[in-house]
Symmetry: C2
């Protein structure tokens, strides 16, 4: 039977979002339920299966080519295992097998960053590129790379740990234990951390003593002219620009796609990236490489999982 | 006829070195002549042809599978052009065509860094690896990457400009115009520049007021206990370690191979790299990734060109 669809499963700590997607990326039916991770492996697995059941209700299952699952890692992609992840109940749990057993459809697993990379490559801002780097900037910094049209995973499936490349020797401590990682100086978390430090140090700033200073508020106060907020953003976004430029000089890609919450914070993000790119990127690479905002937004997870299903099934 | 050989041509500003190489990397015959670049395009081209004539004197040319040429860039690899290079007379010169016309043998061109990468991958320290990064540290810093067993060139053939990734925001000016590039803080040139600055500033150091302070002398004086020399090396090699670690966190390779003059300067180079790797590399990547010294040394150019001939001809 003609294979018209794939299924994308975006497995998250808060919710499971599953969609029936046409091969051109258009979503036919989407279904989201809370994960309720505390209920354990079996319950969450059954929830996943129920979302798949739901999106195929009105079609013939033989029209589904393949299923893709995006999950937080670390994973063992080859074996279909979720090794461990803080916000899900699965420990060394084979998430692929029960799905294949039930639906007899080829099923693929990959981590969030890779899946988002594939989504932007196939359906989003990276469409048509040959070499593409995807960088997601939110609480952390992560990414993926498409090399000669294929996802690059590295030898232990951990390639593109962009957030843990050192950009500031002697810089602040990162969650990974190292110091001066791009994630420690240029992520949303880094921005709010600097803002809280500023508020606590009683310097003159319009940043309020919020319970939790948010990245959004730092962008807002910077726009209103607060010097401390502007300083914090300048520093963080300049390091983000360096991170982006380093990826350009190393991968020589057609496109670098920036996604994640911080990429949505305003034109200043892209202006600062351009400032560092034009200063630091080798000319031939710079002339060829476009830096663009990710297009899939909230649909990155589910469309990325669908892209995984399509591309891995070739 | 059985193809037993390839020919590797290492085209440099000072000398042309050409070798007849068996498919296992053993050199059967080698011939080196001065380039004498000032004599112009035709003369240098004829010199290249004469070195090829020389190494095939005693064999049947039909036993040669292919020819590889390593040249300084920028090149147009697809078209076989040397676009421009300061130490050679060629300008937009097709170096491949006259060789193919004369010998009727498939001929391939690539830049020094890529060719050295292929050489270490096929015949040297990178043998058997799947994902490998090669970093050469001498007057400059350059490199190449093998991804899933194939050379990665990037979209404009400029990938792996490792020497121009920023590792020190606000750092010293690089030859490329940017500031804080790894080449500006961690190359042999960076080390001698810091040493000359120290000598000129009249600080107490056993670094002599040499006409030209060399990298070798800095390593020697550091070993003898000179604090200034030790400081200079510590700083430079720490940034080299950061550069290597960033490549590990980004490429997640099996191996990182370090070549070039600085890699020969002593165990301290690899000790400092290990120090930064153990501090800054993500654990799963670190446990899998070996950092090793390049093995081909002075033969990197000619064996790399032979590796290009073998791998491109598949």
């Amino acid at each position: 039977m003609d294979k018209k669809y794939v299924i994308g499963v975006d497995l998250g700590g808060t919710k499971i979002c599953t969609a029936l997607v046409k091969l051109d990326g258009s979503v036919v039916k989407e279904y989201t339920i809370p994960t309720e991770a505390y209920k354990g492996e079996e319950v969450v697995l059954n929830k996943i299966l129920s979302t798949i059941d739901k999106v195929i209700e009105e079609i013939d299952i033989n029209e589904v080519q393949s299923i893709g699952i995006g999950s937080p890692g670390p994973l063992d992609i080859e074996k279909g295992l979720i090794v461990y992840t803080p916000n899900l109940p699965f420990k060394n749990f084979n998430i692929v097998k029960p799905i294949v057993d039930r639906y007899k459809i080829d099923t693929y697993l990959d981590n969030d960053a890779n899946v988002a990379t594939l989504g932007e490559f196939l359906f989003g801002a990276g469409k048509g590129s040959k070499n593409m780097v995807f960088i997601t900037v939110s609480t952390g910094i992560g990414g993926g790379a498409i090399i000669n049209g294929r996802l690059f995973r590295g030898s232990t499936s951990n390639a593109l740990e962009i957030g843990h490349a050192t950009v500031m020797k002697g810089g602040p401590r990162c969650g990974c234990g190292n110091t001066g990682c791009s994630e420690a100086v240029a992520s949303g978390t880094a921005i709010t951390k600097r803002a809280k430090e500023a508020v606590e140090s009683k310097v003159e700033t319009s940043l309020k003593n919020y319970e939790e200073v948010t990245t959004k508020e730092v962008f807002l106060e910077a726009e209103r002219g607060d010097r401390v907020a502007k300083d914090i953003l300048n520093e963080a976004l300049s390091y983000l620009g360096i991170t982006v430029t380093n990826m350009a000089n190393i991968f020589d890609p057609d496109k670098i796609i920036i996604g994640g919450g911080v990429s949505q914070a305003g034109q200043i993000v892209f202006d600062k990236i351009e400032e560092e790119m034009s200063r630091r990127c080798l000319r031939t690479i710079y002339d060829n490489c476009k830096v663009e905002k990710a297009l899939l937004g909230g649909k990155a997870g589910v469309l990325g999982a669908a892209a995984l299903a399509i591309l891995e099934n070739k």
